[in-house]
Subunit: 216 residues, 2 copies
Amino acid sequence: MDVAIGLYENFTALDCVGPYDVLSRLPGARVRWVAAERGPVRADAGLVVHAQHAQETFADVPAPDVLLLPGGMAFPNAESDPELIAWVRTAHERTAWTTSVCTGSLILGHAGVLDGLRATSHWAALPLLANLGATPVEERVVFEGKVATAAGVSAGIDLALVLCERIAGREVAEAIQLGIEYDPEPPFATGNAARAPQELKERALGALAAASSAGQ
Amino acid sequence: MDVAIGLYENFTALDCVGPYDVLSRLPGARVRWVAAERGPVRADAGLVVHAQHAQETFADVPAPDVLLLPGGMAFPNAESDPELIAWVRTAHERTAWTTSVCTGSLILGHAGVLDGLRATSHWAALPLLANLGATPVEERVVFEGKVATAAGVSAGIDLALVLCERIAGREVAEAIQLGIEYDPEPPFATGNAARAPQELKERALGALAAASSAGQ
């Protein structure tokens, strides 16, 4: 099973490294990191990733079984990143699963994948989905047929584990969850935007923006 | 505040990318990826990471404020990776915080950092801590003075958020938790080894080993 993670400048690393460390543990899975051009791609806070041997391009991986798009503060669309959008649109025709984490769902929306579907995103970007043909829903992981979207950043771990269950069955998914010791203990009760005061939301967005600019 | 993530071949990416995407959002933080030599370092399932401009070496970053060691299936010690162990031992003398995720605590142990301290690790490696001078404890995050250890893989997110609180206060840490939308919904109740049957543990270890060899 080919899993392709579509990269672009200023993606958020945890959005895709969470799912990567889950999906790479699926029997027979091969996770590939792909981008418009060969070479390293920089994440929003300075980390640079590329593939094991050489970066693969979208043209090298036209039809992955699983497509996963991380989010970020960059919000690529058809004008700013036509190669990415074209790859998503074409690959989606043949995927078994088309997935996103955080604002990666906006990229799916720009590619026309979310037309008429319920979808989620990072809480701060959720309303934008309505302009892209989707119905925004405040859920952590949303499956609509073969399209799955996750909420912000850390939600990709939850999405990937559910996806493992759909692909390989519950026993495999349960073992992977134990393998990554996913028994979370969030220190605060502030992870959910629906229960967060406006002032906290503003500070959260400020911290995200500051880290992104520091990573430039 | 300089945060240094110490890399070595076959580290587990999520162990440090979780903390990276938390700590990089601390005001004034700079996260640096360092290794024995310049150039890319491969994670256990194929991802390759390096620093923003050029990989920094241990010699370039002798005294970070925060030292963070990811784990992996590799278990480096003073014989297999003397540069790493020497860097940890020396850097620890001047850190504000010395931290690890997963089997990264074994590296701290080999460097003599855990002598007489309570510490945790990936559940499968926990007993090994006793041979390295530490008292193994089945907790997700363990603070002992300036030394903090986390349980397996995903526990680095929890550790990093607690560390943010200690460094910058609760308001900042709460905002970062909301920024990464850390309101986890693990799909199964299998993340905790203390409650897992032996058969599930064996399957979990099998999945970890298979992914590591596939990434070679």
